[in-house]
């Protein structure tokens, strides 16, 4: 059985035209699945719906989202709170913005752990430091005592991934986790995500517009265009033998190191 099944999911904002239209896909345990497509194609709406955190006015009007045999859409808000952060965690594009600027990382991290586990402060702290170490942050104690503005973009992103992974969620959702970063830092984050899967068996859904990153990390790729999933297949199918013209164009459009040059 798949870990996550999205079946014929349709999402609308204020009952307008669907932002996600009849989308279905499966995610197996231990897989990395990427959703790619242009901005406005509904990628982010799709994964926010899985987390049950659609922006105001957004509603799943049809379909099912099944995690481990339970339909998430049938859960009450209270039940969903227990799922969020424990079974499903999310990393945002700019972790810095999702953190409280006037509280230290330690303060926020411990609060996040306490929400889901009954540990004392010391145990929480040790757990947090352990997670930060796994993310290859060289001086976790300094990171813990820093305010978000004292950390670089790459460090914040790794703190975000560490926080998301602390409760060992069944499913990690990553919304453009590398987009705001420099190429060198992006490579570090990609490395951490890959290791999460290879070493700790995490299941990850990655939303990205960077085809290169999607191609490197993913087992399966879903291509979205104007609220529809136009193609879903294994990485090799999508990259090397796409069936849809749109997928072909999208891959064609990505600048490649050995590719054609416009300038003479």
């Amino acid at each position: 059985m798949s870990l996550l099944e999205v079946r014929h999911c349709t999402i609308r904002y204020q009952n307008g035209a669907p932002a996600v239209d009849d989308v279905s896909f499966n995610v197996e345990k231990g897989q990395i699945v990427s959703l790619v497509g242009e901005s406005g194609s509904g990628k982010t709406t799709m994964i926010r719906a899985i987390l049950g955190l659609l922006p105001p006015g957004g509603k799943v009007s049809d379909g099912e989202i099944i995690l481990d045999g339970h339909d998430l859409l049938k859960l009450s808000e209270h039940e969903m709170e227990a799922v969020r952060g424990k079974d499903i965690a999310m990393i945002f594009q700019d972790v810095g913005l999702s953190m409280d600027p006037v509280r230290t990382v330690k303060n926020q991290y411990i609060e996040a752990i306490k929400t889901h586990e009954s540990l004392n402060r010391k145990e929480c702290y040790d757990k947090a430091v352990d997670m930060l170490k796994r993310m290859h942050l060289t001086d976790p104690n300094r990171v813990m005592n820093s305010y978000p503005f004292e950390l670089s973009g790459g460090m914040k992103q790794r703190v975000g991934i560490a926080m998301g992974m602390t409760a060992q969620p069944k499913l990690l959702l990553a919304d453009e986790p590398t987009s705001a970063l420099d190429v060198t830092i992006q490579a570090q984050v990609v490395y951490e995500l890959k290791e999460l899967r290879d070493k700790y068996g995490a299941t990850i859904i990655l939303v990205t517009h960077n085809m290169g990153v999607a191609s490197y990390l993913s087992d399966c790729i879903g291509v979205m265009k104007m609220s529809k999933m136009v193609e879903f297949g294994t990485r090799d199918e999508i990259v090397f033998s796409p069936r849809m013209e749109y997928t072909r164009d999208l891959i064609e459009a990505v600048p490649k190191m050995g590719g054609a040059r416009f300038a003479k």
């Binding site: 242009e38 901005s39 670089s152 973009g153 790459g154 460090m155 420099d182 190429v183 060198t184 830092i185 992006q186 490579a187 570090q188 990609v190 490395y191 890959k194 517009h209 960077n210 085809m211 290169g212 990153v213 191609s215 490197y216 990485r235 990259v239 090397f240 164009d249 999208l250 891959i251 459009a253 990505v254 600048p255 490649k256 190191m257 050995g258 590719g259 054609a260 040059r261 416009f262 300038a263 003479k264």
Partner: protein, 319 residues
């Protein structure tokens, strides 16, 4: 095709910002030449001084020392009144189109403005020209009557290019001009820019972080690290010839669509040192695999190793 007429000459430019009692070294001794009809790429991590350099060349930020000359005229020491007239020679296209537009100004007026300001043409004539320009950048002429929020990011970027082209600048500076766009749109904008540069035979400075894209639209690329150019190389030779360890690390961080998934990621560990506390020696030494004792004492100068290829490194990668 670039000619061998030098259009822009940057000589030993420094920019220092006072930060409390310390000094932030944003740009430290940069020199390069740009030829007519040439596009030079400028790449490097955020905070390496790319945009500071661009702003100094655009004349919106004074230099601490050094000279910048356009067509033989040094404009770093010009009086503001004089510079106001000179400024038309340099135009910029920015990263985020929506925030560089006034939300209440219609597209047509936005394109007309420089022509009316600099050349004192009549409004009617400027508007006529604006419509021609709009069509030239691939937009319908009736867009002149729209507001910025009615256009998509790619369309706005076309308008920004149209405005920059309206007064025939000698130098165009694109600061991450395609950074905020989807890949499909990105290519169209890149092609449009290259077309204009060839047609008008001007110089262009193209700042970007996507190495593959920068390589595709430029003739030469300057790789910057902590306020210095560490390598200057022909775009075509980038992959095969690059010799600076930092350039290699940047190339290693690019994920190609057709990449081999079993290839381990070449990681550049650590962060660039703070520009507030410059250490002795090569700025890249702390993250460099080829670092020797000399690197921690002396700063390597940018030296030409082959025609069109300069490297600032004591132990360049050998091939």
């Amino acid at each position: 095709m670039p000619s061998n007429e030098i259009i822009l000459k940057v000589e030993d430019v420094y920019k220092k910002f006072p930060v409390k009692k310390r000094t932030l070294h944003a740009v430290s001794g940069i020199s390069f030449e740009l030829f007519r009809g040439e596009t030079l790429g400028l790449v490097g991590e955020s905070g390496c001084g790319k945009s500071t350099l661009a702003r100094m060349i655009a004349g919106s930020l004074p230099v601490t020392s050094g000279t910048i000359t356009l067509n033989g005229v040094d404009y770093t020491k010009m009086k503001p009144k004089e510079f106001r007239k000179f400024r038309r020679n340099i135009q910029m296209v920015f990263q985020d189109p929506l925030s560089s537009f006034s939300p209440r100004m219609k597209i047509g007026k936005y394109i007309c403005e420089p022509r009316i300001n600099y050349d004192r043409v009549s409004k009617e004539e400027a508007m006529k020209e604006a419509c021609v320009l709009l069509e030239k950048v691939g937009l319908p002429a009736d867009f002149a009557d729209r507001f910025p929020h009615e256009l998509s990011g790619g369309q706005l970027q076309r308008v920004a290019i149209a405005r920059a082209m309206a007064i025939d600048p000698r130098l165009l500076i694109c600061d991450e001009a395609t950074g905020a766009l989807d890949v499909s749109i990105q290519n169209q904008i890149a092609k449009l820019l290259v077309g204009f540069i060839e047609e008008k035979n001007m110089g262009c400075l193209f700042i970007g972080h996507d190495l593959a894209l920068v390589r595709s639209v430029t003739q030469r690329i300057a790789i910057m690290y902590l306020g210095r150019i560490v390598e200057l190389i022909n775009s075509e030779d980038l992959e095969k010839e690059c010799a600076h360890p930092y350039t290699q690390a940047l190339l290693g961080s690019v994920f190609d669509v057709y990449c081999d998934r079993s290839r381990p990621i070449a990681l550049l560990t650590g962060e660039p040192p703070s520009p507030l506390e410059l250490h002795e020696g090569c700025p890249f030494a702390v993250r460099c695999g080829n670092c020797t004792e000399r690197c921690t004492r002396e700063v390597p100068a940018l030296e030409e190793t082959a025609p069109g290829h300069s490297v600032a490194c004591f132990n360049p990668v050998s091939r």
